[in-house]
Amino acid sequence: MKRKLKFAIWLGVLFDGVLIFIAAVALLAASGLARDEQDALRQILEERAPLLVCAALLLLVLCGGVVGWLFRNYVGAVDALAEQTRTVLSATPEGRIVATGGAEVMGLAAAINRLLDAYRSQHLDLDVKIAEAGSRLEEERNRLAALMSELSQGVLLCNAEGRILLYNEHARMLFARAEASGSQHSLVGLGRSVFALLDRDQVAHALDKIQYGLDRDANSPVTRFLATVARSRLVKVQVAPFLSADLRIAGMVLTLEDVTDAAGQEARRRSLLQALAMQVRQPVANIRAAAENLVSHPDMSDEKRSVFAGIIAGESRDLSVTINDALREHADALKQGISLEDMPVADLVNVARRRIDTLLGLPTGVDRVDDHLWVKVDSYAFAQVLASLAARLSEEYGVREIRFRAAAAGGFLELDLVWSGAIVASDALTLWETEPMQLGAEETPLTIRDVLERHGGEVWRQSHPQSYTSWFRFLLPLAVPAPVKPRRSVPLESRPEYYDFDLFRNADAAQGLAGQRLSSLHYTVFDTETTGLEPSAGDEIISIGAVRIVNGRLLKGEVYEQLVNPKRSVPRDSVRVHGIKASDLQDQPTIGEALPAFHRFCEDTVLVAHNAAFDMRFLELKEAATGVRFSQPLLDTLLLSAVVHPSLDDHRLEAIAERLGLRVIGRHTALGDALVTGDIFLRLLPLLAERGIETLGQAIEVSRETYYARLQY
């Protein structure tokens, strides 16, 4: 329309222009003529009027042709060029411009195509760089997480509000172990508050101390405190801050070390000393008094003498017994310090071999080392002992090769450092044992004897003259092999679930939940299995399963799963549904024990369940008995599904899962159903957002409406 108008205007202007031009020329030419000539001309013109009209029409067609050609090749072509360029830029990034029209327009199109190419390649470069940087960042984060998981200490990283951004397996285990007996659920989880784990005042005090250090420009202000976690374990906590650009505390790294055993050992050592001091005093006093009487009165009667001698004999006999008992009773306390760690003997031998090779260049070998033997050892110091003996043998006796062998004997490891040929004087070892160890440039005030004393070990020389071999035999207390922990490997492609730095950006979520966006909230999705459908008629919960959602991720590593002893029979009908038999539940905690732990697991989160009313009725009926109230906001995937698909009737878990393209695995176990419900909930969130339901308050409101709508049915 617009284009036609433009065409008409151009045509009109051109046609009128030409007509005006011809008329002007004619008028100009006619103005010089005489009157009669003018009359004759007018007459001619009047007579030829039809011809003139025809000429004018021809001129119009001619002008139309010229304007049409101009339009096709230039005006329209440029318009089309602009249109195509806009489309390519906004919609079809891979497209090219195909121009028709004049040579100039074609040239312009070619230039635009070149410009597009340049723009695209730059864009592509940029995209690749952004993707590379992103994946590098992700990889680094994962590497950090992997590193954390390998640490022998527990690590918790928190933001300034004390929410956990990252934790490692050790930290999780530390608090899992501290949980109520039988329960393996840890309160360590992403986005959870660290104050649920550690005393708020202790942490606050530590942060105050750090702030004090920062105010005084301390280089790396770090504080430590001892904390008792969940009644039983003693944990050494080290708090180090990390700072924002303006040097405020943006968060903290907590390093946790379980010192319960070490502290226990220290306490036992102290009590041994106390016991000895207390129990030895009295008998020694008695012996001394009796002995001094005997010495001071050589003239006493035989009868008296034998009384005092009897006292000395009796008291010293008791004293021997006391000392022996105390030493036996406290043997553990004396055995080892806390710097010893359990280690496979094969590893210890390898450490020693590497050391001998690096420091002395002496060839080493292994005759036989039992793979499953473990020792309690300070591997650094002990490898130094072995290497320093090897150095002595090589320097003083020209020994050319050292071999190792190890076997168990009683509660001890017999570790032999073997060589052939040279006969080593029997007093050589005694001398070497008591001199400070020296290895090349390395020197230490420690002697071999010191190290052995610390290990509760011994060493001596043995030889087998027939085979010309000799060996130093070390005796070290064997350790029980550490149980092999299932290693949580961290695939570099996928994001491990035990960190989430995005939580940094989250403000403290505790306030004003209703106004918060659904995508930013933390959820506990749960399900229960029960003995039947009527809690008021005595049916009971027999299983609770739950999983957490933080920052839109279902954290399959942070689950709660607990069987519950219902203290009643389990009807056969219900066994058919969930497969849990009464015998499975005998040794499980009662609901009174399980519910408080589950309540702690749900702390600070929004509850999500499918057909939540059913599960909540069971929980509410236990409120009075357990003193535990679930007052958190609650969302129901059944109702939310009805909000999203109001025209459909089937809102069973399977039906929704199928609609949303989810596979259902492990149905009718509480945890299995909770996991499916969690997946469904996450898929429902974008569908709710399409309907403008983005906050918790809105979701609760529409659920309520749906609920009433369904009730009216």
Partner: protein, 129 residues
């Protein structure tokens, strides 16, 4: 003929008691105050039993024990190691390098005598009458 005992210990009080005890039990007794002296006395005195304290100056009881076991003509001599330490590893070490028994201080006189006579009876069997 009375059995011969060598007591090797640097602690004079226990030596006095042990000497008295052994003599009263019918043994012929000699005393060594350190490891070197013990080896010299074994050479000249040729005891049947040596009571060997682990912690001695100059040469430890362990060394004396090892040197004794290196001598083929001394294999029949019974070695009783005495020690105030008595950790399990030390006991194992003593027995491993050739001691016949290991007695931890403090000990009962009766038990010590019983152990020594037991060892001598055991040693007498193979070559006995």
């Amino acid at each position: 003929m009375a059995n011969k005992v060598l007591i090797a210990d640097d602690e004079p009080n226990i030596v006095t008691s042990l000497e008295y005890l052994m003599e009263k039990s019918g043994y012929e007794v000699k005393i060594a105050r350190n490891g070197d002296e013990a080896l010299a006395l074994i050479e000249s005195f040729l005891p049947d039993v040596v009571l060997l304290d682990v912690m001695m100056p100059r040469m430890s009881g362990y060394e004396v024990c090892q040197k004794m076991r290196e001598r083929a003509d001394w294999q029949h001599i019974k070695i009783v190691m005495l020690s105030a330490k008595g950790r399990e590893a030390e006991v194992n070490k003593g027995l491993s390098i050739g001691a016949d028994t290991y007695v931890t201080k403090p000990f009962s006189n009766q038990e010590l005598i019983a152990k020594i006579s037991g060892l001598l009876a055991e040693g007498a069997k193979p070559g006995g009458t």
